[in-house]
């Protein structure tokens, strides 16, 4: 930071003066991210249940998710704009499509990964199928599922910056405005970029902490 300030690239006073705007942008960034990941998660849960019940649908669902993931975010926003305009709706719809592949994959893989003898014991003891899923398979699949949520969240946080192009952007606003202004304002660019990275790392760490809280059994030492 000091080096950058020295190189006249970074102006701390700008940060101080605009802290309000920075916080607003951060909030917008968080809102977009959380909305997209939560909706993505709900959709993915539904899709996963379908995939788990009818195995033949798993590959097609993954392929569809893969296609959606492959389409560049810019193209996705562009395709939606004529229909849903430069709005949060456009952004969220596009962002959600990027979460589907990783979330469905991890939910299904996680649940499949629960050892078969545990599932057999659960059934043998008298849990109905739904209880087996919710009370046994889901808790044990959490590490893998949360890993998927972490990846989805970090990815989305990065993609939110691109929504600057359609009038949103969260912290990406600063990247765009820092660049579009004349003369170029490096401070904004750097703030936007590094704040976004920081947000991503924070989100990742928070989710990791959440996972630890939700899985107390995995933190105990294992008997040798």
């Amino acid at each position: 930071m000091i080096l950058l300030a020295a190189a006249d690239l970074f102006d701390p006073s700008w940060v101080v003066r605009n802290s309000g705007r920075i916080l607003e942008a951060t909030w917008e960034h968080i809102v977009l991210t959380v909305l997209s990941v939560v909706i993505g998660l709900l959709l993915s849960c539904a899709l996963s249940i379908v995939a788990l019940r009818r195995r033949r649908l798993y590959r097609p669902i993954l392929s569809a998710g893969s296609v959606l993931y492959t389409i560049p975010s810019l193209a996705m926003f562009a395709l939606l704009v004529p229909f849903t305009g430069f709005s949060m709706t456009t952004a969220v719809i596009a962002l959600v499509t990027y979460t589907l592949l990783i979330l469905v994959k991890n939910i299904v893989t996680g649940i499949d990964g629960v050892p078969s003898e545990i599932v057999e014991a659960a059934i043998g003891m008298g849990y109905e199928p739904r209880a087996v899923l919710l009370r046994v398979q889901l808790p044990l699949a959490l590490p893998v599922i949360v890993a998927g949520i972490r990846i989805a969240t970090v990815t989305v946080i990065g993609l939110v910056t691109v929504t600057a192009l359609i009038g949103l952007g969260g912290l990406g606003r600063f990247i765009l405005s820092g660049f579009r202004v004349l003369p170029i304002h490096p401070t904004q660019i750097l703030v936007g970029t590094f704040a976004s990275i920081l947000l991503a790392i924070t989100g990742d760490v928070l989710l990791l902490a959440l996972e630890r809280v939700l899985t107390p059994w995995s933190t105990r030492k294992v008997a040798t």
Partner: protein
């Protein structure tokens, strides 16, 4: 205790009638038209080579596998009539890899079925403690997670979990197959003790014929397709195997295995040459003559064994001096099997074992007596 055995009057007979299991992609049924009855309060073992359908049969009783045809009744009630999950809550189920829930503590694992049945917390807590004690598990393990337990402990928790709601029927699928031999011996002994106490109807699957002989009140030897080759007590099967399949399945040392089904107590123990400290010289001499031996066991007046002596070492003055008393090399208890007694005798290059209970000499077991047990 909240229920040690089913109230007298409740019979838990398991009846399979013309039960068949046919898988779609297979040409032959896994279980073909099986009709058999497992008696109430008995430990029935299903044993046979891999693929004979023993596990399939077991799992059809609690509908983990659904029969293709035929009927299964527990106590007269058709198991297919009830919702499977309700049925299973009344049947204890123990599998080889245990399947303890890693995300729950030992106590919570054991409490699984009681919780499903809506027991109140206090009752559950009491029951969990009872079971921990019953299975010889330290009470402190209750709040540990399964990953922190050894293999043998996990297996015992698995059994405790199956017994939690005190089901009258217990299904066990090769439960001791994945632990080491020493642990397995303990678990088998523990199961026998439990069954003596709890008297449940147990169906036990294993591929190990020795385990079957040890545990079963009756054994069903199955061939491919769930076909019963022989269904009888271990002793009867060993004495008269029905056909070549059974004979070869029992293995080569069939007669030794038979010995394993007879306890020393039930065998032909003779009194043997015994002298008491208080006997006179003439009495001692008389024992030697009637038994035809030049030695005898020496007991004191209340029957406690002191050792054995050469009869000639009796001096007229002090009876038998201390240095004349030798110890029996082989001592067995009445609860031991004849097989282990024979093993001890042979191992010590001897010909006789002293049968001792609480220090008292009950009698003697000679090698000839043992082989005489095998006569039909």
């Amino acid at each position: 205790m909240t229920g040690t055995s089913p109230p007298i009057g409740i019979v838990r007979v398991i009846e399979l009638e013309h039960v068949t299991k046919q898988y779609d992609r297979e040409s032959a049924p896994a279980v073909d038209d099986l009709t058999v009855t497992f008696a109430s309060r008995e430990l029935t073992v299903l044993v046979g080579p891999s693929g004979c359908g023993k596990t399939t049969t077991l799992k059809m009783i609690n509908r983990i596998i659904e029969p293709t045809a035929g009927s299964i009744r527990i106590d007269g009630a058709d198991v297919l009539r009830r919702p499977p999950h309700e049925l299973r809550r009344e049947i204890g189920f123990v599998i080889q890899r245990v399947g303890l829930f890693p995300h729950r503590t030992v106590g919570e694992n054991i409490a699984t079925v009681p919780e499903m049945l809506g027991w109140d917390r206090a009752r559950i807590r009491t029951r969990v403690n009872e079971l921990l004690e019953l299975m010889d598990l330290d009470a402190g393990l209750r709040d540990r997670y399964p990953a922190q337990l050894s293999g043998g402990q996990q297996q015992r928790v698995g059994v405790a979990r199956a017994l939690a709601a005190d089901p009258p029927v217990l299904l066990m699928d090769e439960p001791f197959g994945a632990v080491d031999p020493i642990v397995r011996d303990r678990l088998q002994a523990q199961l026998l003790e439990l069954q003596a106490q709890l008297q449940k109807t147990i169906v036990f699957v294993t591929h190990d014929v020795d385990e079957a002989i040890l545990l079963g009140d009756r054994i069903a030897i199955l061939a491919t397709g769930g076909v019963i080759a022989q269904f009888d007590t271990p002793h009867a099967i060993l004495r008269s195997p029905a056909g070549d399949f059974v004979r070869s399945f029992l293995g080569n040392e069939r007669h030794l295995k038979r010995l394993a089904t007879i306890a020393v107590r039930d065998a032909d123990i003779v009194t043997g040459p015994v002298v008491k400290r208080s006997m006179t010289h003439d009495q001692v001499h008389a024992v030697g003559v009637s038994e035809g031996t030049d030695w005898a066991a020496l007991v004191d007046d209340d029957g406690t064994l002191e050792g054995w002596v050469w009869l000639r070492d009796r001096s007229s003055a002090d009876g038998f001096p201390e240095d004349a008393i030798h110890q029996f090399r082989v001592i067995v208890s009445p609860e031991q099997t004849l097989r282990s007694a024979l093993d001890a005798i042979v191992a010590n290059r001897n010909q006789v074992a002293a049968v001792i209970e609480d220090g008292k000499l009950l009698g003697m077991l000679f090698i000839e007596n043992i082989s005489r047990q095998l006569l039909p």
